[in-house]
Amino acid sequence: MPDAFLMALAGGICIGLAAILLMVTLGRIGGISGIVFSAAKSPVGDFWAILFIAGLILGTFLFHLTSGHPIPAFKEPLPLILAGGFIVGVGTKLGSGCTSGHGICGIGRLSVRSLIATCTFMLLGFITVYLRLHGGVA
């Protein structure tokens, strides 16, 4: 198995373990969209969410610091960034979750809602990228 596959698998296991640890210690679902909204809405009442987010950033920093892995490039037109971010925000709020909450925790809970949500956002992701890269759109 190529290294990238092993890293993806190991990274996924870390994410799953982090979600388990969050449930065992704080009793919360490791869904990032929900945690981000809690942190932004009540930074004082849900101060744990602020610290979780600080940890998220710190963890990524530490990965690159310890592995020497280069920082990935990110260069997209600003209108696309703003539109994409806004749509992701609306979609995850409306659909009650994202890749982590529905995709990893929800499927782990064998939730039909999460399974359907995951299939839906993956399918739309596939279609959107196809149109962007091969369909002559945007």
Partner: protein, 142 residues
Amino acid sequence: MKLLMALLCGMLFGFGLALSGMTDIANVIGFLDLFGDWNPTLAFVMVGGILVSLPFFQFGLGKIKAPLFADVFRLPTRTDIDGRLIGGAALFGIGWGLVGLCPGPAIASLAYLNIDILYFGVAMIAGMFVTDFVDRWLTAKS
């Protein structure tokens, strides 16, 4: 202790995201390019995550009475499939495909100190608040 655990959970989560390749949008777009030049690598992230989350939620969680540093487990209780769920997930998929960032990697990538990623995060949070506001307004009206 509760706050320290929140920080540690976030760190493990963020480390995992960067290790997995999810914070590299070239990887994400490659993975989402199923109908084109598909890069299957990131499928293993979900495999790894579910590999540990599934046994935990199915067999482990039931054996624990309460969280270590909170009163109760806050688990989702809804089981209905409605238009909000499908429409929301569909919109999320479109946004994800447009830029290649979902909420976890978007926040974790703030570590890269790239102002564009901050713009994405701010737009994302704005989208959540607008949705929440409209939601409350519609509920109050009806």
